[in-house]
């Protein structure tokens, strides 16, 4: 019974992932942004578990646990601490107004699906149609990084991008080898820490974490 609905459930989780990506794109508040990021991590955890169970690939359980530990617990915790220390809880203005950003997002989704179409036709996995969504999530997170001027949302965008990649890996090819996965996870963690330190430095220098201030560093 569940085996019958399994692929459909993975599709549903993929759609929720996309929905969360759009929610992040249209969210003004940093605090909600972090919560959405955590929710995305949780959906990713669920989908990885599901794929592991459906395909019997046991190493995917490990990936799922890693996702839960890192993306649902550790990183949001770090980010929460970060914004508490930086005292940047308030609204962020986006560079473009939100419906326009979403309009661009829709174009990206159409593009991503068409780009992923030939690859997903090659893949023989049960969940191949989700590859387009994974690519769309990556592109949307990228778009989010572009349209924000504050540093913290940009960091979140960077992390969300990795979520999309991870989802592509689990859904299309049933996960990467464990070593690679650990490496990537470590990269992300270290990346987040370095970015955190970087942010403190920016604030020390400019009294703000608005990355538009970095324009001043340009040589005249």
């Amino acid at each position: 019974m569940l085996l019958h609905y399994g692929p459909q459930l993975v599709n549903l989780l993929a759609a929720i992932l996309l929905l969360l990506a759009f929610a992040m794109l249209s969210q003004r508040r940093i605090l909600s942004l972090i919560n959405l990021f955590a929710a995305q991590g949780f959906v990713l955890f669920l989908s990885t578990m599901l794929v592991a169970w459906l395909t019997g690939q046991n190493h995917l359980y490990g990936s799922a646990a890693l996702t839960l530990a890192l993306k649902v617990i550790a990183l949001p915790w770090i980010l929460h601490r970060l914004i508490r220390r930086l005292e940047v809880k308030w609204d962020v203005e986006t560079l473009l107004n939100i419906p326009s950003v979403m309009l661009v997002g829709i174009v990206l989704v159409i593009l991503a699906f068409n780009l992923a179409l030939p690859i997903s036709q090659l893949a023989g996995t049960v969940t191949r149609s989700t590859l387009g969504i994974a690519l769309a999530c990556v592109l949307l997170s990228f778009l989010m990084m572009i349209t924000r001027s504050k540093a913290v949302p940009q960091v979140i965008g960077f992390l969300a991008m990795e979520n999309g990649l991870f989802f592509a890996a689990t859904s299309a090819v049933y996960g990467m080898p464990m070593v690679v996965e650990f490496g990537v996870a470590l990269d992300v963690l270290v990346g987040a820490l370095i970015l955190g330190i970087f942010l403190f430095q920016i604030r020390e220098r400019f009294d703000s974490v608005d990355t538009r201030h970095l324009e001043k560093l340009k040589e005249q």
């Binding site: 699906f113 068409n114 179409l117």
Partner: protein
């Protein structure tokens, strides 16, 4: 059918005769108002009746004893022509009756001359619809453009009206050149410019595409498709209201006729990307038109922009037809084409109705600006109720006619996900969303139009003297309002009329698929069905029961007093929303569409002054650069200008010599 063709030719001739009769006594208003215009209306009715008969006959052609030697005029009537003739005759009848009450001694063109232009305009439109070769078509087309130019500039004492007229003439001719080139591409080297000859030619993709694009540009310029729409909001307000009505209702449709004739009949094989281009320009026009309509402060300009929107929807439907047809989905192509043609008919009815209403308001108040109207419901109830019908129809609300065609169009979109092309499959839902947004925005615009003109308090003291429309005007308005209602309530019958047209152009008809006369059910009744009559009866019954129940159970006590307005005692007319205020949210949401110049007062200004101008970006991106380039080129040419006759004669002489040498 030959009867219909002969009758159409006879009616066109009689229209010309009526027009010429106006010249006999150009200042005799009584003759023109009481005899000539009503006669024109009767001829319109006759044309509609004969076209209705002709719709169901097989096509007939005839060579006329007119034209140049070896190049006679050919005329032909088939279902497509007959349908547009029906539209022309039916709408022109209403407009002519209205005009006989409307026309009066102005400061510009004398009434007799206006009568002449008006009837030449009607006759030339009829001839455009039956022309069967490029030569006859272009002659009729240009006559139509010139007659309408003279009608637009009826009040030629005003500089801005002359300017509007010239802009119209310019774009009409740019379009005409494109159409001429299109016919050149269509004849495919055979030298045969008759439509029958063009139908037989096998063309390579390149030539066919060139012909299609030229037709889209040429007819699009006449129809007011973005980016060639700029003349419309200038010319429609400048023209007298019956002329605006006629141009918007019928002349724009001749352009639709032209594009349908060229693409679906003369070219024959179509490619899917043509459909995408037509769909995209159509949607752009629809959305742009309605967004601009929302910020207008002149009621006729507002309606002109709304015409751009409706033409956009018509072209979107046409694009969908092309897409379906290119994939050989015959039934769906017929559905999309039915929606397109139905919307043509509907737009002709409600837009002419609303333009005529603005005419009555203009005569009664001498105001076109929305900011100086208001509360006319009490002074002009007849016009107000007719305008309300037009408002509901144009806003695309059930059970009137605007909804019926939009319903069909949306149904056509709902069937698209079977297209064998992945990008198209994804773009079509987006297109449906734009159509839905446009339809909703038109509701916004029409609430603004109706609310500001007819409801609320009068914004100027002189509005208290406004008089309702006269008897002739009322008949014209009632005719068109009735058409809006009837076309809305019996869509199955209308689809029956469209059936021969879609059968001729796509090979499939919709009539057999409508579920009886009561229900409208394209494809299958389980998929979708709509019955405006039942719908209307349902609302009427529920409203009646509610009213009766309240009246019988409780009471009908009522007391009249001043408005409450949250207890604010000093209410006056200036506290209502102005037209600018009502349009402000749309201006804010769709800000990138506009080029806004704003002058906002500082808090410390002793005499605060606020000014805002919003402008079409295309004007600055496309038209002004072209105008400047033309200016620059012409300033180079001025070198030739010497002002001495002998120099000019030398030019002619040299040219003559060169030509002689060249053809030697």
């Amino acid at each position: 059918m030959s009867g219909t063709l002969d009758l159409t030719l006879a009616i066109a001739t009689l229209w010309l005769a009526v027009g010429l009769a106006g010249l006999v006594a150009p200042r005799n208003l009584g003759l023109i108002r009481r005899l000539l215009f009503p006669l024109g209306a009767v001829l319109g009715l006759a044309l509609a009746a004969s076209a209705l008969h002709g719709l169901f006959q097989s096509p007939t052609a005839r060579v006329l004893p007119l034209g140049l030697p070896d190049l006679p005029f050919r005329a032909r009537i088939d279902a497509l022509s007959a349908f547009f003739l029906l539209l022309l005759g039916g709408v022109a009848a209403g407009i002519s009756v209205f005009a006989s009450g409307y026309i009066r001694r102005g400061e510009g063109t004398p009434p007799g001359l206006q009568c002449l232009y008006y009837h030449i305009f009607l006759a030339s439109m009829a001839l455009v619809l039956i022309a069967d070769d490029a030569y006859f078509f272009m002659v009729a087309w240009e006559t139509m453009a010139l007659a309408s130019f003279f009608l637009v500039t009826s009040d030629h004492r005003h500089a801005e009206i002359r300017r509007a007229g010239y802009l119209y003439l310019l774009i009409a001719h740019v379009g005409a050149i494109a159409i001429l080139l299109c016919f050149g591409a269509l004849q495919g080297g055979s030298g045969d410019y008759s439509f029958a000859g063009m139908r037989g030619v096998e063309r390579p993709v390149g030539w066919a595409s060139a012909a299609f694009l030229l037709a889209l540009a040429g007819f699009g310029a006449k129809a007011g498709l973005v980016p060639l729409h700029v003349w419309l909001p200038e010319a429609h307000p400048a023209a007298p209201s019956p002329v605006s009505a006629l141009m918007s209702a019928v002349m724009l449709k001749t352009a639709v006729y032209g594009v349908l004739r060229v693409t679906l009949d003369l070219i024959g094989t179509v490619y899917w990307w043509w459909g995408v281009i037509a769909l995209a320009t159509g949607l752009l026009s629809a959305l742009g038109g309605i967004v601009f309509a929302a910020v207008q402060t002149d009621m006729k300009r507002l309606l002109a922009y709304s015409s751009i929107e409706n033409i956009g929807l018509i072209f979107a439907g046409f694009g969908l037809t092309l897409i379906f047809r290119s994939f050989h989905m015959g039934t769906l192509a017929a559905l999309a084409l039915t929606a397109t043609l139905y919307h043509c008919l509907n737009h002709a009815c409600f837009k002419s109705l609303l333009f005529l209403c603005t005419g009555s308001v203009l005569h009664a108040t001498h105001e076109r600006s929305l900011g100086k109207l208001g509360g006319l419901m009490h002074r002009m109830p007849w016009v107000a109720w007719c305008a309300l019908i037009g408002t509901i129809a144009i806003a695309g609300l059930p059970p009137l006619n605007g909804f019926a065609s939009e319903w069909l169009l949306l149904q056509a979109f709902l069937f698209t996900p079977g297209l064998p092309h992945s990008y198209l499959n994804m773009l079509v839902p987006v297109a449906a969303a734009v159509v839905a947004l446009t339809a909703a925005l038109s509701g916004y615009v029409m609430v603004k139009f109706y609310g500001v003109v007819f409801l609320g308090q009068p914004r100027e003291p002189k509005l208290a003297e406004a008089r309702d429309a006269g008897a002739w005007e009322r008949v014209g308005l009632a005719w068109l309002a009735a058409a809006c209602i009837v076309l809305g309530l019996v869509p199955a019958a209308v689809i029956g009329l469209l059936d021969p047209v879609t059968r001729a152009l796509t090979g499939f008809g919709m009539a057999s698929l409508a579920e009886g006369w009561l229900f409208l059910a394209p494809i299958q009744p389980e998929r979708a069905s709509y019955s405006p009559l039942v719908f209307f009866a349902g609302i009427a019954a529920l409203v009646g029961i509610a009213w009766l129940a309240v009246r019988l159970r409780y009471h009908g006590r009522m007391r009249r007093t001043g408005p409450w307005d949250c207890g604010f005692p000093h209410l006056d007319a200036r506290m209502q929303d102005t037209a600018e205020g009502f349009g402000q949210p749309v201006r804010q949401v769709f800000e990138p569409f506009f080029r806004i110049e704003q002058q906002v007062p500082a808090p410390s200004d002793a005499r605060p002054f606020f000014r805002e101008v919003h402008d079409d970006r295309l004007w600055h991106w496309l038209y002004l650069p072209i105008a400047r380039a033309v200016d620059r080129v012409t300033s180079l040419v001025t070198v030739l200008q010497r002002g001495r006759i002998s120099v000019y004669l030398t030019y002619s002489f040299v040219t003559l010599l060169l030509l002689l040498l060249f053809v030697r």
